[in-house]
């Protein structure tokens, strides 16, 4: 479970995360939506311990991640997988090395076992025969799928997906959402999906959190958000322009 309490983050004098409270129960997939600059990716990075908030508390599986030391944080991060918005693939490694990297660092597996697991995942993400390619030889959609494979290879119980379909064509976006849905159906994983693609997210998340100007303005299931009478919520969900 992830519990975020009274989290504030300032950039200069501007409050970019403004007193956020959120609970994500174990095994659920939450869609974090909102306009650009609302603070979604930043909140996700705070949850992953990559950005330290100015105040507040973030509990991941009962462990407070705000203000803890490197050693304790390493133990928390070993439970987390993250798909980055702009891929963040290691450009000096091949596809095979990138995906197998978390397993190599964890240790306890032979090279052959790691290679088998990488090949299995490459087939699952529909990228066979790309093992020896470098990230600069891949298209955006291929990079996203490699990043997905790297995020899930160690089977972390918590997954953060930061805009997994940003800049992708509808067909590739559909493939990525299918992978996320497949992962959710397997159960046991707590995840947050940040995306602007409301249409694609509708069927793959258990609940939704709408952010605006660093605040959570709505939190609920798909049915609840669709039934909301608040103009901003309805307008954002349906993707309508201002009058």
């Amino acid at each position: 479970m992830i519990r975020i309490s009274e989290v504030y983050k300032y950039r200069g004098h501007e409050c970019v995360i403004n007193g956020v409270n959120l609970v994500i129960p174990q095994g659920t997939q939450v869609g974090l939506i909102g306009p650009g600059g609302a603070g979604k990716s930043l909140l996700m990075k705070i949850c992953a311990g990559l950005v330290r908030p100015d105040s507040g508390s973030v509990l991941i599986d009962g462990t407070e991640v705000v203000g803890i030391g490197d050693v304790e944080m390493t133990s928390v991060r070993s439970k987390i997988g993250m798909l980055f918005q702009n891929y963040a693939l290691f450009d000096f490694m091949t596809v095979e090395e990138n995906i197998g990297f978390p397993l190599r660092q964890l240790g306890g597996r032979t090279e052959e076992e790691i290679r088998d697991e990488v090949n299995r995942l490459l087939l699952a993400v529909d990228l066979p025969n790309t093992q020896k390619l470098f990230p600069n030889e891949l298209s955006g959609g291929m990079k996203k799928r490699v990043t997905f494979a790297r995020a899930v290879i160690a089977n972390p119980p918590i997954l953060f997906y930061d805009d997994p379909t940003a800049g992708l064509d509808p067909v590739t976006s559909g493939k990525i959402f299918a992978l996320l849905e497949e992962r959710r159906e397997r159960g046991g994983t707590t995840s947050i999906v940040v995306s602007h693609d409301i249409l694609g997210m509708r069927d793959i998340c258990d609940s939704f959190v709408l952010m605006d100007h660093g605040r959570i303005v709505f939190s609920g299931t798909r049915e609840e958000i669709e039934a909301s009478t608040r103009p901003f919520v309805g307008q954002f969900w349906r993707g309508e322009a201002d009058d």
Partner: protein, 261 residues
């Protein structure tokens, strides 16, 4: 152009001072974090080998060429004086003393800061702006241990070893130039080196090479890890890294020379 008010001038001076203080503080903290990783030793073997190869083997040809020319230039510079006083027996000492103690480490240090330091900053800076450093942290891997310690070891060790190679090559270049331009036999050049140059002169230069290596590694890593602002930010960091490394090399050289003289 309108003159700046004293307040604005003071404010600008203060901002510039704070920027330098932040950089110096950041470098000191970085050096501490890197040194801490040696007790007990924590480093990635593969990454260390990769960096040793990239920094050492790939820099060797340019070091050899630079050193050969440095030795030759030292002989050309001292040649006129040597011929004027008929002091051919001192040619090896004249060229070797300056090369081993001063010119060798400085030239190789500057070359290293331009080639290896700039490359290190660009690589780390690009990794920073493309979230690769955050990706490492998200995978529970400490970027200091995985990225910086191997680079630190490679730069310091290779700067030291390549200075030895450079010193020897410079002496060969000097001996060859002495024979061609002044007719001084290589054996006379060598005996002059052996007779007048002390081991202390060699160690003096190697100590400088070691400290220059530490400076280049820390400065280039610091600017790489603090890069922000995309491609423009990477360019700015590389520029800052090369300038700061060069300045630091001369500052360190001044103090080491003053202390060891």
């Amino acid at each position: 152009m309108q003159a700046l008010s004293p307040f604005k001038l003071l404010s600008r001076f203060g901002a510039a001072f704070m920027e330098v203080a932040l950089d110096v503080g950041g470098m000191a903290v970085l050096l501490y974090k890197v040194i801490r990783c040696f007790f007990p030793p924590k480093l990635d073997g593969m990454e260390t080998w990769r960096n040793l190869y990239k920094v050492g083997v790939k820099s060797a040809p340019i070091v050899v060429v630079t050193a050969l020319l440095t030795g030759a230039i030292m002989v050309i510079q001292s040649g006129a004086l040597v011929a004027q006083f008929d002091a051919f027996g001192l040619l090896g000492w004249g060229a070797g003393f300056a090369t081993l103690r001063e010119v060798g480490p400085i030239m190789i240090g500057l070359m290293f800061s331009g080639r290896v330091g700039a490359n290190n900053t660009a690589e780390l800076g690009t990794m920073k702006v493309t979230d690769q450093i955050d990706a490492l942290r998200a995978l529970a891997i400490d970027p200091i241990t995985y990225l910086l310690v191997p680079r630190f070891i490679a730069i310091v060790l290779m700067m030291f070893l390549l200075t030895i190679v450079g010193d020897l090559t410079a002496l060969v270049g000097g001996a060859y130039t002495g024979q061609v331009l002044l007719g001084v036999s290589p054996s006379l050049f060598a005996s002059s080196v052996i007779e007048y140059i002390k081991l202390e002169d060699l160690f003096n230069g190697l100590f400088k090479a070691f400290t220059f290596g530490v400076a280049i590694a820390v400065v280039s890593s610091h600017y790489g890890m603090t890069t922000s602002g995309g491609a423009v930010g990477v360019g700015r960091s590389v520029n800052n890294s090369v300038v700061a490394s060069a300045v630091l090399i001369f500052v360190l050289d001044y103090f080491i020379t003053s202390i060891l003289h």
